[in-house]
C-alpha cells in the first residue's frame, strides 16, 4: 500500500467501509466486458436486481425447479429428436433393423421413430430421456402446485402467478398428448382415435371440428404433421412465454418463506442468487438431468416397437394414455352409458362429453379461480409473503385433499383393467367401487383431514402451554409421580404460535339500524355462511397472556404442589 493510500485511509472515519483489495487482472477484464455490455444495453440494473435477489432455503421450494429443469431437458432432447423424426403419415414398408417388423407397411412417422430407436446412435436413450422428462415435468409441476396450494402461497399478490401456473399445467397436458401421439404406433393411434371420438361428442359443432382437425375422416394424412407443428412450435412457444412470465413474477414478488423467528412479510431470510443459488440451482439442474438419464438408461418407456404400427382395426388390452391424461380417461370409464340421449334424431353423448371434453377445462377453471374464491370468503386483502403451515388453515387443507382425492379416484379408474388383472378382481366391481368413491371419498377425506389438522393444532397448543413431554418421571417424597415437561425454546415456540386464526363472520341480520332490509343482504348472508364453513372449526394460537398464565401455573406446580402436576399429567394422559 502506498503512502498516499495510507494517508487517505487515515482520513476515513470510523465505520466507513474499507477499500477492498485491488481487483485481479481477470476480474478487471470481466469488469471491462460487463461495462461494455452495460453501456450498450443497460443490463446492469436488471442483472444486479436479479443476482442480489434473496431466496429462502427449503426443499419444497425446489419442486418447481424440477419442473423447470425437466422442461428444459425436454426442449434439449426434443431438438435432437426433431433432426430425425419425419412427421408424415405416408405409408412405406419398413426396412430398418428391427426384425419383428421387417417388411410391414407403416407410416413414415412410425418408421422414423423406429429408426431413432434402433438405427440412430444414442437415439433410444434420448427418446427415453425425452419421454421420462415429460412425465417428470408434469409430476413435479403437480407436486409444486400442491405445495403452493397447501401453504397458501397463491394469496395476494400471487394470484396472477397461480393462474399462469394453472394454465402452464393444462398446456403441459396437451403438449404431452400431442407428443405421445406423434410416433403413430398402435397405442398412440388408439389415443388419437379416442380423441377424435371425444371431439365428435361436443354438441352441434363436434363433427365439424373433428373433420377440420383431421382434414376429413379419421385417420387421414393431415393429423400427424398438424400435431407436430402444435407439439414443436405452437405449444412450446406458449409454454416458454408463460413460464418466463411465471419466473419474472416470482422475481418481482420476492419468494415466500415458511414462518419462523425473524421472518416477516417485509423481509426474505435466505441467500442471494449470486453466488449461492446460481451454484445450487446449477448443480441441481445437472442432478435432475443426470438422474433422468439414469432412469432412461435403465427403464423402458413407451416401447413403440412392441406396440407395432397403427392400423385402425386392432387395439391392445391395456390401452391407456400417459398418466397425466389418465384422470380424463378414468372419468370416461366411470360415466354410465345412460347419459347418452337422442334429441330430434341427433345423439347427445354426455357419457363421453362430460368426462373427456368438459372435465379438463372445468377442473382447471376451479383450480385457477380458487384464490379469488378464498379471498371473497375470507375478505383478506392483505399481502402475504409468509406461508401458512397447512394445519393452520384446516378447511383449505381439507378442500385441497378432497380435490386431490377426487382426482386420484379418476386417475386410478383409468387403470381399472390393470388393477383387475394384477389384483385378480372383477373389473365391473372395481368400476362400480370407483363410481361410488368419486362421490364419497372426497367428503370422507375432507372430514378426516380437517380433524387431523385441528388435532395437530391442538397438539401444538398443548406443546406451547405445557412443554414437551420429557419422559422423565419424578417421584415426590409423598410417593406421587409426575412427568417433567420441558419448556420449548423461543425459536421453536414461534413456529407454533405465529399464525392467525380469524373468527368466522357473524351472520348479519340483513337489516340496517332502522330495520330496513339492506340491498345486498342475501349476498352478505351467503358470505357469512361460507365464512362459517371456512373458519368455524378452529384452534386459536396461544396468546402471550395464556402463555404467562400457563408458566405461572407450571412453576406453581413444580415448586409447591407436585400433587397437582401429577393429577394434571393423569388428566392429560386421559385426554390423549
Amino acid at each position: 500500500m502506498s503512502t498516499a493510500a495510507s494517508a487517505r485511509a487515515a482520513d476515513l472515519r470510523a465505520g466507513d467501509p474499507k477499500s477492498s483489495a485491488p481487483a485481479s487482472a481477470s476480474a478487471k477484464k470481466a469488469g471491462a466486458v460487463a461495462s461494455w455490455v452495460d453501456e450498450r444495453t443497460g443490463i446492469a440494473k436488471g442483472a444486479s436486481f436479479m443476482l442480489k435477489k434473496v431466496f429462502p432455503d427449503h426443499w419444497s421450494f425446489m419442486l418447481g425447479e424440477v419442473a423447470m429443469y425437466s422442461m428444459i431437458i425436454c426442449l434439449l432432447t426434443g431438438v435432437f429428436l426433431s433432426l430425425w423424426f419425419i412427421p408424415s403419415a405416408g405409408q412405406i414398408p419398413y426396412e430398418g433393423s428391427y426384425l419383428p417388423l421387417k417388411g410391414i407397411t407403416m407410416s413414415e412417422a412410425y418408421s422414423s421413430t423406429l429408426a431413432i430407436s434402433f438405427d440412430v446412435r444414442g437415439g433410444l436413450l434420448i427418446r427415453q430421456i425425452h419421454h421420462w422428462a415429460a412425465l417428470m415435468f408434469v409430476v413435479s409441476l403437480s407436486v409444486h402446485m400442491f405445495r403452493v396450494f397447501f401453504t397458501g402461497a397463491f394469496r395476494k399478490p400471487r394470484e396472477i402467478n397461480w393462474v399462469i401456473g394453472t394454465l402452464l399445467s393444462m398446456l403441459a397436458l396437451i403438449e404431452g398428448f400431442a407428443g405421445y401421439s406423434l410416433p403413430d404406433d398402435l397405442l398412440s393411434g388408439t389415443g388419437l382415435r379416442a380423441a377424435e371420438g371425444f371431439i365428435r361428442s361436443v354438441p352441434v359443432i363436434g363433427s365439424y371440428v373433428s373433420y377440420m382437425m383431421f382434414g376429413g375422416a379419421f385417420p387421414g394424412e393431415a393429423i400427424i404433421p398438424r400435431l407436430y407443428a402444435v407439439h414443436v412450435l405452437l405449444l412450446p412457444a406458449v409454454l416458454i412465454g408463460l413460464f418466463t412470465a411465471h419466473i419474472i413474477l416470482v422475481m418481482v414478488h420476492k419468494h415466500t418463506q415458511y414462518p419462523g423467528p425473524g421472518r416477516t412479510n417485509e423481509n426474505v431470510v435466505g441467500f442471494p442468487l449470486m453466488p449461492v443459488y446460481t451454484a445450487k440451482a446449477g448443480g441441481f439442474f445437472f442432478l435432475v438431468f443426470g438422474l433422468l438419464s439414469l432412469v432412461s438408461a435403465l427403464v423402458t418407456i413407451n416401447p413403440i416397437w412392441a406396440y407395432g404400427p397403427y392400423d385402425p382395426s386392432p387395439v391392445t388390452a391395456g390401452s391407456q394414455p400417459d398418466w397425466y391424461m389418465g384422470f380424463a380417461d378414468g372419468a370416461l370409464r366411470l360415466l354410465p352409458g345412460w347419459l347418452e340421449f337422442e334429441i330430434f334424431g341427433y345423439t347427445l353423448s354426455l357419457n363421453v362429453f362430460l368426462g373427456a371434453v368438459l372435465l379438463i377445462p372445468l377442473m382447471y377453471t376451479i383450480t385457477g379461480a380458487y384464490p379469488f374464491l378464498e379471498r371473497w370468503i375470507t375478505g383478506d386483502n392483505r399481502e402475504h409473503h409468509v406461508l401458512d403451515r397447512p394445519r393452520n388453515v384446516p378447511t383449505r387443507t381439507a378442500l385441497g385433499v378432497a380435490a386431490i382425492t377426487a382426482y386420484l379416484v379418476l386417475m386410478f379408474a383409468a387403470g381399472n383393467d390393470i388393477i383387475a388383472i394384477r389384483l385378480q378382481m372383477s373389473i365391473n366391481d372395481i368400476t362400480r367401487a370407483f363410481q361410488v368413491l368419486f362421490f364419497v371419498a372426497p367428503i370422507l377425506t375432507f372430514w378426516v383431514t380437517r380433524r387431523i389438522c385441528l388435532s395437530l393444532q391442538r397438539h401444538d397448543r398443548d406443546k406451547v402451554l405445557h412443554g414437551r413431554e420429557s419422559g422423565t418421571l419424578v417421584r415426590t417424597p409423598e410417593g406421587q409421580y409426575y412427568e417433567v415437561h420441558e419448556e420449548l425454546n423461543e425459536y421453536d415456540r414461534w413456529k407454533l404460535v405465529g399464525f392467525e386464526s380469524p373468527a368466522p363472520l357473524a351472520l348479519p341480520s340483513g337489516k340496517d339500524a332502522n330495520g330496513v332490509a339492506s340491498k345486498d343482504a342475501k349476498k352478505e348472508i351467503r358470505r357469512a355462511k361460507w365464512s362459517n364453513f371456512f373458519f368455524k372449526s378452529r384452534v386459536e394460537p396461544v396468546t402471550p397472556a395464556e402463555l404467562a398464565t400457563a408458566h405461572h401455573h407450571g412453576e406453581h406446580e413444580a415448586i409447591e404442589t407436585p400433587a397437582g402436576a401429577g393429577a394434571q399429567a393423569i388428566k392429560q394422559a386421559k385426554q390423549d
Partner: protein, 260 residues
C-alpha cells in the same frame, strides 16, 4: 430359561416368532391338505385307460359319460386338443370353483395319462385333434405373426402377450412360458372366454407365425431397459410417481441440507 427371558424384547424376537408361527401353520396345513385322487392304470387300451381316468377324476362335474352336469360342460365333441390343453396346462381338474380356471404350473397327470383321457374324449365324437410334430415345427414369419397377433389377439392378451382383464373377474392370461402345442390348441379349441380360430380364420402358417412372434417377444433382449411388465403407460406413470418423485425430492432435500 433366564437367557431366553432376557432376550424376549430383542428386535429379532418378533420376526422369529412370526416365522415360527407361519412355519407351524404351513407344516400343519401340508399334513392335512387334501390330496388329488390317483387312478393307477396300466392296460394297453388307451381309450379304456382314458375312460377309467375320466370316470375317477372328471365325471363328478362332466358326467359319467361326459354328457355334462350343472357344474361342468359336456365334453362330447370338444376333441383331444381341448383335453390336452386344459389338463396339460393344469387348468383341469379345477382347483376351486371360480369364474375362470387358472393356469397351474403343477400338472396333476403324466403326459401318458393326459393322452389316454384325450383319446377317450376324442372317441366320443369328432373334434380338433392334438397338433402333430410337423405342424408345430412349421417355420413361422415373425413379422406376419406380429400383425396377426395385433389384429386377433392383442385386444385381450395385450400387445406383448402380458395379458388383460375381461369382464367380471375373467381375464386373458399372460402368454409367457406357454408351450407352442398349448398355444396352438388354445387357438383351435377356444378355451373359456376365448373364441375359436380355425384354419379358415388363421391358417396353419398363420398360427405358426403367431407362435414364432410370441417366442421372439419372450426371448428378445429388452433394448430399452427394464420393461416394467409390458403393461403400457400405467406402470410407467406409477414408476415416475414413486421412484422418479422420490429421487427428485431426495435430491432436493439433500441439496437443501448442504451449507450455502
Amino acid at each position: 430359561m433366564n437367557a431366553l427371558a432376557a432376550r424376549r424384547r430383542h428386535p429379532a424376537a418378533i420376526a422369529l416368532l412370526l416365522f415360527l408361527g407361519l412355519a407351524l401353520v404351513g407344516a400343519t396345513y401340508s399334513l392335512f391338505a387334501p390330496k388329488p385322487a390317483q387312478a393307477a392304470v396300466a392296460t394297453a387300451d388307451k381309450v379304456a385307460d382314458g375312460k377309467a381316468l375320466f370316470q375317477a377324476n372328471c365325471a363328478t362335474c362332466h358326467g359319467i359319460s361326459a354328457e355334462g352336469t350343472k357344474s361342468g360342460p359336456t365334453l362330447i365333441g370338444v376333441g383331444a386338443a381341448a383335453v390336452d390343453f386344459q389338463v396339460g396346462t393344469g387348468r383341469m381338474p379345477l382347483s376351486a370353483p371360480n369364474v375362470q380356471a387358472p393356469r397351474i404350473e403343477q400338472i396333476k397327470y403324466s403326459q401318458e395319462q393326459i393322452d389316454a383321457m384325450s383319446a377317450f374324449v376324442a372317441s366320443l365324437a369328432p373334434g380338433p385333434a392334438i397338433p402333430d410334430q410337423a405342424t408345430l415345427e412349421t417355420e413361422g414369419d415373425v413379422a406376419l405373426g406380429g400383425e396377426l397377433f395385433r389384429v386377433n389377439c392383442a385386444m385381450c392378451h395385450n400387445f406383448a402377450g402380458s395379458g388383460g382383464a375381461l369382464t367380471r373377474g375373467k381375464y386373458a392370461p399372460a402368454l409367457y412360458g406357454v408351450e407352442a402345442k398349448h398355444i396352438y390348441e388354445a387357438m383351435v379349441t377356444g378355451p373359456q372366454s376365448m373364441p375359436v380360430f380355425d384354419d379358415k380364420n388363421i391358417d396353419a402358417k398363420g398360427k405358426a407365425s403367431i407362435i414364432s412372434y410370441l417366442r421372439t417377444v419372450e426371448t428378445q433382449a429388452n433394448v430399452g431397459g427394464m420393461n416394467l411388465g409390458n403393461m403400457g403407460p400405467v406402470s410407467e406413470g406409477m414408476f415416475i410417481w414413486i421412484f422418479g418423485l422420490a429421487l427428485m425430492i431426495g435430491t432436493a432435500y439433500w441439496l437443501g441440507q448442504k451449507a450455502a
